[in-house]
Amino acid sequence: MEPQYRQGILRFANWQLWGPGLALIVLCLGFSLAEPRFASVENFQVIADRSAIPLILAVGMTFVVLQGAIDLSTEGVMAACSLTVAMLILNSRSGLDLGWLGVVLALLPGLAIGFLNGLLVTRLRVPSFIATLGAWSVALGLAMLVSGGQPPLIQDQSLRAFGLGRTWAVSNLALVACLVLAFGYVLQNYTRFGRYSLAIGGGEDQARLSGLPVDRYKVAAFAVSGLLAGLAGVLGSARIGLGHVDIGLGQMLATITAVVIGGTSLSGGRGGVLQSALGTLILAVLANGMIFIGVTPDLQKAVEGAIILSASLIATWRLRSRLRIVR
């Protein structure tokens, strides 16, 4: 059971979750009223499928952000693992055919880059912003090198079928995302890694003073983020059918936006994976709903921006005391 901070019935009034949850419900209702076709089972399946990869990314990013750091290397890692999986399993360029072993191996670059990020931040004291920015470029560059203008096409049919297929009326990718979310929830609330990450974000000095091996958990957070970004890249390739350098295009900002809208503070110490999941869903519903109600493409970016601003305002309304420092 998650730590309960209130007594009695109020135990379940976790405002952190209710806020974004309510926003999601309002959005869904609004879109359904404007365009009834939005509220079909098929569309909700589409939304679930569409949020699968962003959700996996958001879970990984959440741990890093909870500690008060940031991981900008998402897109690079996705590209690197996308190319790796495309080269390791049956494909049009290399002669390899490692099947599901290839899929597992393709996660290793993500893990490795995550570790690298962690070591840069803890040993060399490079700010996470800079370290992960560099990792992004390096990973992307490596992916481009491998791709070389002739992206490897995935010919392994079982992986393609997995990426595009469904199990019990839910897309496979959405199922994987749910598993990742569950895994993230357990990590966050039932392991030292999760609880201490919260502590590090809320007061790193005190954490160190209390004897916590802070560096170890920082590296772990980046490693988890890298691993999950790798998973996202692999799944994206399964769906699209090739190793694609642009597989993660735009995902980094979208992930951070989702995490922030969900209520996880960028300065650390507050939030969680469930909140980030809600944030992801909000963004997915938004993008999907705007197509349904026919907002012209030119206007969509502006509308998205306006909604993100409003969501942030609502999320931090309680905290807007004059004397609070905002950066």
Partner: protein, 503 residues
């Protein structure tokens, strides 16, 4: 004679050129409370840090039950059975009480890497029971009061008992300096409690407390252990003499102050703010020092913050020089000539990274400008003048503020409000907190000088001595209302009288 548990043998430690500890030897025996007193900078903190592994001595050794210790960090110390309660609390505000108590040593509550919340809460509750506390293990630490958090710190240190084979050694770094009277009593009672299951090293500024609970007291001065006294030989004057190396009167000599008849500078009428305070009315004249007494939760801190614009009252009136004023934010108050010296110096008073110069001129840069540019020469001259007048040491204007001792930092905070001209009103929130005897005297003198120059001063103080020594008038607040008023002139109220109004 009881058995020796912890022995510090001829430990020395230098930081750069300064010798923080010089050949110090002390001894702590089983089930005793040993006091450690000394002026700021005498080396008490350094000694504690050495004992809990935060720094390594240059020479000498630490022996715990006949085993030489080589401590590399807090975790090592905890494993050896030495626990420290920090002055600036080291709890993690985001975590629950239970997690903080068992941090790093969750033991049976951690199965295969996964938390068993029920077990964790039970273990924590057991520690809290030792202290007789009713704080809920599930509460979020950040939401507790200072005093409650200190209780958690104690519980955390006691948790060492479960792991160590022997009774732990508990180091207390000035646990009472941030507390008010009622809570101080509670802490001292706990120390008595602790004596039955551990050995305690109790560091404090307040000699009366040390005399009450300690079996023996060591005096540190300039890094050296200059005296050791047993119960039979306790005497405040004697200890003070060793601390400062000079004869002293009472720490804050009282002065007869003539009753002043002056215009009322500041009038507060029926000020209310929710549950914090209700119906507060008083006047403050030129050059008068008004002391406000009360326990935590009496509303006096909120009241003063409202008078500086940090918080807004719900209703009532603040009248300054005959004009009602609205204080929406501190900038308004500063503009109207109200200054505020906060209780938490580190967090709210000085900018640690900046130098003395920058800190002093922080509130009044406008007055030092020529056109859009800062007049650096004038700024420097002004600041150097104040450094000399206030005897701030070290005296280089660019010394970073965090390198100064508490007393000197407090002087900077005061100077900040004096730099560009006299403010009309100064609000002082626990100005003498955390200062050693010498610094207290300096600041007391300073406050008196300020009052004499015509500034009206609102003073919140903790100890009876400070209140009566400094204040012309005293009002007492209890649960948000004024419960007692001791006017100027006439005899000073006794400690009992004030206490009666406070609780």
């Amino acid at each position: 004679m009881r058995q020796t548990v912890l022995r510090v043998e001829r430990v020395s430690k230098s930081f750069g050129g300064t010798r923080a500890l010089d050949d110090v030897s002390i001894e702590i025996r089983a089930r005793e409370v040993v006091g450690l007193v000394g002026a700021n900078g005498a080396g008490k903190s350094t000694l504690l840090k050495t004992l809990c592994g935060l720094c390594q001595p240059d020479s000498g050794r630490i022996v715990l039950r006949d085993k030489v210790l080589g401590l590399k960090g807090i975790a090592d110390a905890a494993n050896a059975g030495i626990g420290m309660v920090f002055q600036e609390l080291s709890l993690l505000p985001n975590l629950s009480v239970a997690e903080n108590i068992l941090l790093g040593h969750e033991g049976a509550a951690l199965r295969c890497g996964f938390y068993d919340w029920k077990a964790l809460r039970a273990l924590a509750a057991a520690q809290l029971r030792k202290l007789g506390s009713s704080i809920s293990p599930s509460a979020r630490t950040g939401s507790l009061s200072f005093a409650e958090r200190q209780m958690i710190e104690l519980a955390r240190v006691l948790a060492i008992e479960e792991r160590a084979q022997n009774e732990p050694v508990i180091l207390l770094d000035e646990p009472t300096s941030m507390l008010d009277a009622a809570h101080i009593e509670a802490v001292l009672a706990q120390i008595e409690n602790l004596r039955e299951r551990s050995s305690v090293l109790f560091v404090t500024h307040r000699l009366d407390e040390a005399l009450r609970v300690c079996d023996r007291i060591y005096v540190l001065s300039d890094g050296r252990c200059v005296a050791q006294r047993g119960r039979k030989d306790f005497s405040i004057a004697d200890l003070q003499q060793h601390m400062l190396g000079r004869e002293l009167g009472v720490a804050c000599p009282a002065q007869a102050r003539p009753a002043r008849q002056a215009e009322s500078r500041l009038s507060v009428r029926a000020l209310c703010c929710g549950n914090s305070y209700r119906g507060i009315s008083f006047d403050l004249s030129d050059g008068e020092i008004l002391g406000i007494a009360g326990v935590a939760g009496s509303g006096r801190e909120s009241l003063c913050r409202a008078l500086f614009g940090i918080e807004q009252p719900d209703s009532g009136e603040i009248v300054l020089d005959g004009q009602p004023v609205q204080l929406g934010e501190p900038a308004d108050a500063v503009r109207l000539g109200i200054g505020y010296v906060p209780a938490d110096r580190d967090a709210e008073g000085i900018v640690a990274g900046l130098g003395i110069l920058e800190n002093m001129t922080l509130a009044h840069l406008g007055g030092l400008c020529r056109g859009p540019f800062l007049d650096r020469a004038r700024e420097k001259a002004l600041v150097e003048g104040w450094i000399a007048q206030l005897r701030i040491a070290p005296g280089a204007a660019q010394t970073p503020a965090r390198h100064l001792s508490g007393g000197n930092q407090q002087k900077i905070v005061l100077a900040k409000w004096l730099v560009a001209g006299s403010p009309k009103i100064l609000i002082l929130d626990h100005p003498l907190r955390g200062l050693d005897v010498g610094a207290k005297m300096d600041i007391t003198r300073l406050i008196r000088e300020l009052a004499q120059s015509g500034i009206g001063i609102l003073l919140i103080a903790d100890t009876y001595d400070e209140l009566t020594a400094l204040s012309d008038r005293i009002i007492v607040m209890k649960d948000g209302v004024v419960s007692g008023h001791f006017p100027a002139g006439g005899t000073k109220p006794s400690e009992l009288q004030i206490l009666e109004c406070m609780v």
